[in-house]
């Protein structure tokens, strides 16, 4: 891959962007910066505004307020708007968006033709791009003759072939089967980084986000609620929404008994549990304990130690490397409780919680 070095990645800066559709505000003051060459994943449920944000970056949508800068050039504010074709970017769509009247080669060559790349070079680059996505020899076929996975690879080749400074991905894997999804995700991660371009990728799947991202932005109702490295998002979710959306085994109610630096001790009525505090918490505050799946471990009933929750196995699922259990504890249910061996349904067990994976939150709205 000698050619990839030609790409100069674009730095993307979004400042206080607001986008409204009539009375509905789709983006409500979103700001973020993707440094050149970074892989940014925007994570959020449907309706959170992540698609709108991507379309704003692409130039498909304009902004009502705020600014978008690409490579330090202003591309959109409330008065001006650089159309998508002049932004030097490429995009992979959820529904592939391959033109059914063009062959695979013509589809991939489209961006090159727009850039008036010479014929000889275009053929080489199309061949190279198809080879990189594993579709060498598919040039003459039409999209309708390909499977979903193959179509999305063509779309990926089309996005890469023009060596864009910014690569956009609009939930590219959501229409694919599970195993294919995994494989293509790896390819996207590899090829996007190989290309050197800045990438913005949107998804509602937290596993996808953690696997791909240099930086994750979590969107909720048009607001960017957290923009950080995956590790930080996992350990220090800005709020319960982020915590929930990035994966929880369960939630338990309790009361803060003691504050210990960035940790607090919670009393759930039976046990004292240590957890990382989010926001200001003081002794006596009611709080909610949010438990990451990886923080749980299943132990035989009567195991010695502090912070063990007694419970009953409700369900058990084989996961290859071990077993995931659903355990009913006194005031809640924990799922994805890992054990190397299976504990059959109805068994009394203890669940150990690692404080590093527990988050305490005092949001009153949440507790009610």
């Amino acid at each position: 891959m000698t050619s990839t070095n030609e790409v100069s990645a674009s730095r993307l800066e979004i400042n206080d962007v607001v986008k409204r559709y009539g009375a509905h505000t789709a983006l409500d003051g979103v700001s973020l910066t993707a440094e050149a060459g970074e892989f940014v994943v925007l994570l959020g449920p449907s309706g959170s505004g992540k698609s709108t944000l991507l379309r704003v970056v692409a130039g498909i949508e304009g902004v009502d307020e705020g600014r978008v800068l690409l490579g330090n050039a202003l591309v959109a504010d409330r008065r001006s708007h650089v159309p998508p074709e002049q932004r030097g970017l490429a995009m992979v769509f959820q529904d592939y968006a391959l033109w059914p009247h063009l062959t695979v080669a013509d589809n991939v060559a489209y961006p090159l033709r727009r850039k008036r790349v010479g014929r000889r070079e275009a053929v080489d680059r199309v061949g190279g791009a198809l080879e990189r996505v594993g579709l060498a020899g598919y040039e003459k076929r039409y999209p309708s003759e390909l499977s979903g996975g193959e179509q999305q690879r063509v779309a990926l080749a089309r996005a890469l072939v023009g060596r864009p400074g910014l690569l956009l991905f609009d939930e590219p894997l959501s229409n694919l089967d599970a195993d294919l999804r995994e494989r293509l995700r790896v390819e996207i991660a590899t090829l996007a980084r190989e290309s050197g371009a800045t990438a913005v990728y949107i998804t509602h799947d937290q596993a996808e986000a953690f696997a791909l991202a240099d930086v994750i932005g979590v969107l909720d109702q048009g607001r960017l609620v957290q923009f950080d490295r995956p590790e930080t998002i996992y350990r220090h979710p800005a709020n319960p929404f982020v915590a929930r959306f990035t994966g929880l085994a369960g939630e338990l109610a309790g009361q803060v008994t003691r504050v210990d630096g960035e940790f607090v001790v919670l009393d759930d009525g039976e046990q004292r549990l240590r957890a990382r505090a989010v926001g200001r918490l003081a002794a006596g505050d009611p709080a909610r304990l949010l438990v990451r799946p990886a923080a749980t471990r299943i132990l035989p009933a009567g195991s010695p130690g502090d912070g063990l929750l007694a419970g009953t196995v409700v369900d058990v699922a084989y996961r290859g490397r071990g077993y995931d259990h659903v355990v009913a504890v006194r005031n809640g249910t924990l799922s994805s409780v890992f054990g190397e061996q299976a504990w059959s349904r109805g068994t009394e067990v203890h669940v150990a919680l690692d404080p590093e994976g527990c988050i305490a939150h005092g949001d009153p709205a949440l507790i009610g």
Binding site: G59, I60, E61, G62, H81, P83
Partner: protein, 349 residues
Amino acid sequence: MWAGTRSRAMLALVAATVVGLGASACGSSSPATSSASPAPLVVYSAQGYDKAVVDAFQKATGIQVKLVDDSTGPLLAKVAAEKSAPQWSLLWADGAEAFASLDSQGQLLKGYEPNVAWTAAGQSAVPQDKSYVPTGLTMAGAILYDPAKTPNPPTSWQDLLSPAWQGKVGMPNPAISGPTYPFVAGMMNQLGGEDQGKAYFTQLKTHGLQVFNTNPDSLHALTTGAIQIDLAQSSAAFAAIVKNPNLKVAFLDKVSLLPGAIGIDAKAPAPVQDSAKKFAEFVLSPAGQQAMLAGNPNGDSLYWPPVNGVSPLPSLPQLSSVAYQTVDPYLWGPKESEINSWFTQNVVK
């Protein structure tokens, strides 16, 4: 979806429309501005020979004429729609009733009569207030039949009510076919009034009168044998004979005079009215009558000239051999809509 696509797309529509219209406007008229030459005319006509006459008139006088030719119904609909600002300078159609209606609404220039030698029949078609000018004469209610199939045609209007003619008589619907109303009105007139006339047509219906939409439809029925007697305008009947010499025309006692006439727009500027008068005079001149007689020899040219010194086409009998009446168009014109809708509801089918 696209930022701005729609507003630009809409602009494109505007542009395309403007361009399209601009392109189309190339052929549209521009008002004549010359003041020295006589004012140009816009002639609305339903006559088959109008094109020939207009050509001859332009050649003879140099006066520009724009012709709008259409069937009587749509033409009169157009005239009515234009009432607030008539675009025609001269209307030329069959049937005095329509002219009488226009005259009662003050749309026709009154008091103009060209200086010509009318025949008696022609004179009888000139209205008292001289608001329109007869240009040719036909008869409403001629009988068309095939002597091979119908050796003994009916001899009187009452005859048609006898069992011999049960289901064998046809006519067009006056609500659809323009020149048929004068026949219906004429029958009512000679039978003594609207009520007597309605009674007669109701009886005809019980005797199987078949009503067709248009004149060609009833002619078609006559040739297929679906009917044996077709009640038609004389020019249409003689036209049928041109196509099919086996057919014959007969006139019962009485038929009604159905003149073709010219009316001039009351609101037109004086120079235009002058040109229109020249047109009427030309039409009644020997040259104009010759053009009328030659213009549509298989159709409307089969009329009796209203002026002396011009002979009808040879296939027409002497007018003196026809027993006809004249009908007061000012009495029957205003009733047209009402009688036609009565006819449609009670006689058709």
